[in-house]
Assembly symmetry: D2
């Protein structure tokens, strides 16, 4: 086997490696212990407890799923009635990049124009008032919940004030607020961030803590702070083909991520690396497509420059701007080393 | 953390442990290599090649999914038109134990009465003729494919002759034949078995090679021997939330399972252990619910005996027979040791 | 245009003609009055009031849909959670003759073996206990409601005692009981019947009063005796494409059917005719496939006899019994005349 | 019964009355003839022939469904693969006013910004190229067909040149083109229109001729000019609960509408009336929200004026513009009389 890409620098995404070594160590250490399936094992139970504690949500339900699209599809199906849709920024991951998984589940994504990848409490109020005042509203998809992500698709983050406002509107209008935390570690680790896990658990009705992109082999931890909000969620997971037989594999990973603040530390490494790259880019006069403080940098490149770089480093294709220019994504992760950053910045 | 179940014997299922140690070793060894996501990596490509070779199907498409219910739901959705159903034994896993995942995808499971967990070519002919001769057939769900598993839900196996006959009928009537190989390693390893991987690839239109229950952390390899049979399968996988971001994790596992015949060797260990237990059970006069040669033993126990055993060993609950008796499952695996078998047989 | 079938006797089904003439008269009379759409018109409101009165259910919600399969699909979708299935006799219309409409909506039909087309309270208890006692129940589709029809698919009827018992079990176990009344007029009109519309409204959670097969051009009236049981039902109807723009057309028909007991009188005509045919069949030694007192007669015929009859009369094909014999359906209706019956019996 | 709205002028929509009297006459005349169900009757066959002739499409398949949302949902489900979406103007009926029926069927509506309610061939090319050039396209819903309506949601009409261009792009890119003709009679009857039924049959892959809003009690005729394009369409209709048991009722209506050019004549009456109203509105200085030549007039009114008018005439609410103004719809129909127009214009 030829590890073709092994020598090449990799900044295309935050899921190009395996897992944090501590996770592999722990999987090996526990490998021959026997435990029940489907998440009924002690490892998963310990992981749940640690997450409840980190969220300051002692009564929370916690479930481990495999990936982000799956998690979004399962949670949204579980929260909505058949005739309701989910409000999202037009740039929301569920709207653009999940191959229609939400619609496959029978629901319309109701889009609001994003501002820096985010939506606002005011937009929610306006949207709902317009729906309510429309005499034909029973022919129009009823908004049934709100989807946001932290960080957003553009790497920006909601401030605590913004999240408080969204949550207040959602609660006043009986719309569950769901937060997609696929890259939550990288939001939590930003110095600019003032939203804690506890805040999220207090302000959202369902959210997930991303593992796949934050150091795990795979896995997302769905948290439902208020016990009993969704009835039959276990069966819903099973029915969607999202129930791991060896649930322990996810449990052991989250147990590890929530031991000794590993989840936060992973994020900090990525943010440090991203900030170093960001400052070099700015020095060198590159244009950033979106300003954001997290682990993804969206840089505008000429197609020539992008082609030139692609010999030495894998970047992530984001979007064509025009015939000459495109947006490329540079993503750091828990695994990015100082040496990686040095080599990358030398190429820029 | 209290490894409560660690000291207890575990025969409840074949997914109570982690993974074959060689898999963990290989995951660690490759952990820091960078590779593209979504199964586009070299590990996955190598795994595909090894599977194509093992199946003698050089043009086969191979995809890695996470679990059995998910795989069944995705494949069946991909093969059927909206107004078609899937023919299955009434005991088929998709009919009884997948929480309605097939129906969630919009399709009826059309059941045939099983014989030892199996269906026959004759039944397929009869069913289709009855459908065709029914003047109201356009009001009746049209059979659109056939689902079988090897081994079956009762642990029995199709003979080559039986599989040839099913395949011939399916091809004559343009019904894709799909084989669920969640425990395929344990069928392939039986001395009684005369169906090879190559036979399956020759006779079936789609099948999957089970990893989760056969030594992997998780993962199922879907094989479509005839390239291009299903259009858009990648998007279908993504849309169902079944696409692994870190596809390499599945790829590395299947690469390992298909190196040096590990997949077959795993199975042989389980079968040896199961046969030792089977002979002790027969000696001691226990009744088996189903005769089968694979790694699952379905034994009839009085509820008292079941309760007594449960102090020392985890068995799998299968079915209540009546107020006094139940069927319990004893499952061996790649991880079952001689010592485990000795301890179990001593308790019987 | 050649009215090929005009001269031929027609007993194939109860929907071979247009509508009761009083309905056409009323449609003409009101044709140029203007009214709002979507069932918000005064005609529909009057029809609802008359139905509420006939059912002795002053708080009932009443909706008008177009046909039986549509009504079953919409109601069942509205009553079930995504992970639940609907219990039905194996012979239930939703299981066999609706082309998979229930599964298209995502739900499994959980079948119980029928007895004369019916299911019993005891079967419901046993089924639920088995589900509850199964340790794997979360992997098995959860029963979420019960479907019956009056008359049944075999033309038999539930007695009041049987319906009371079913209802009691359903309420004790929080399973909505839904009654499909596609041919309800013909059950209500039987001398053998002791179940009134008021009983149905008292004992069922949702039911529909069939129009299409009972004298209307089309239309089924869904009754939800307990106001508010289903939230968003109007939107659910719309979303399923089942909302009539000119709702008045259905409203006027049901207003007519529930004026001066027309619905009951229609039924009586059909039952008188059916009983005359039944007694001739018995006299002449024909075998009936199912004994029943309603408007459908299921008679066993040699295929030769069936072919011979088909020159002069249209009967409904029901089922092939074997190479020589089939079951044919003779259906009477509100439109069957004495002369029709005379001509038919002369041919037998 | 109080015909509250009987005396009031009604211009809210084109489905406020019953049906063209010739349809009622014909339903009465044929009422007692017996015919097979499910559209297999001679009336429906004659109607199909007349439609084939009017479309100059001798090999076309024709099916009769009940209403517009239903027809759109069934056709779109039948045309798309599970992972594809339907391209539509953002103002398209399927996007805004069908309560999520398309998404319930599992498909995303892919919106293009409308220009006068329409989309252009250029937009289709640009959209597809962007999709194709996006390296993440397998994560993005694949465009699988194009939806347009004639007239559009704003009452505008596609010119033959525009339709030819759309059709050419669709055929070049293997995207079926589907035309929603809910109000087709009113487009065909405009002097400004240069698109004939034959053009539509030549340029579209599927379309429907609207009955509900064009003089029928209910009913839409789906035309598939190229025989065999959709396999299993009858079963798809049945499975969606859209199959009329008494198919003849729809058949008789379309047979009537396509006898002696009734369908065209109906439209002409509506257009004459609309044009009279339009010229009065312009004279009196009212602002029209959209310029169009068909039977719907979208007029901007102050909320005071709208409230004042509502005492004497029912108009259709369309949209709130701001706190003071709204858009109201004035719809004429086959049933609008000169006297109605006189009374309305006197109120303006």
């Amino acid at each position: 086997m030829d590890f073709r890409s092994a020598e090449k620098l990799g900044f295309a995404s935050d899921y190009m490696e395996g897992a944090h070594p501590e996770i592999l160590r722990r999987l090996s250490e526990t490998n021959f212990l026997k435990s029940p399936g489907y998440g009924m094992d002690d490892f998963s139970e310990t992981a749940r407890d640690k997450i409840r504690q980190a969220c300051d949500a002692p009564g929370a339900e916690v479930y481990f799923l495999t990936g982000g699209t799956q998690t979004n599809a399962v949670v949204i199906s579980a929260l909505l009635r058949s005739y309701q849709g989910v409000i999202s920024a037009d740039t929301g991951h569920i709207n653009g990049h999940e191959a229609g998984a939400i619609e496959l589940g029978g629901h319309k994504v109701l889009t609001l124009p994003n501002r820096d990848g985010k939506i606002t409490a005011e937009q929610l109020i306006t949207y709902q008032m317009a729906w309510w005042q429309d005499e034909n509203r029973e022919h129009i998809v009823m908004p049934g919940m709100v989807y946001i992500s932290q960080p957003t698709e553009q790497g920006t983050i909601y401030s605590l004030e913004e999240l408080e406002a969204l949550s207040a509107v959602c609660r006043a209008s009986d719309l569950p607020l769901y937060l997609d935390g696929a890259r939550l570690a990288y939001a939590l680790a930003c110095p600019e961030n003032d939203v804690t896990l506890q805040d999220i658990a207090r302000l959202c009705d369902v959210f997930y803590i991303g593992g796949t992109k934050c150091g795990a082999l795979f896995g997302e931890a769905v948290v439902i702070p208020r016990f009993g909000l969704i009835s039959g969620f276990f069966s819903i997971i099973k029915q969607h083909g999202a129930l791991l037989a060896k649930g322990r594999i996810a449990g052991i990973q989250f147990e590890t991520l929530f031991t000794d603040d590993l989840y936060l530390k992973l994020g900090e490494n990525a943010i440090r690396a991203a900030n170093r790259i960001r400052s070099v880019l700015k020095e060198k006069g590159y244009e950033l497509a979106y300003e954001n403080p997290t682990n993804q940098i969206f840089v505008v490149l000429s197609k020539d420059k992008a082609a030139e770089l692609s010999d030495d480093v894998d970047l992530g294709f984001w979007e064509n701007l025009d015939a000459e220019r495109c947006i490329m994504r540079i993503a750091t992760s828990w695994a990015t080393t100082d040496n990686d950053v040095d080599r990358l910045t030398a190429l820029l």
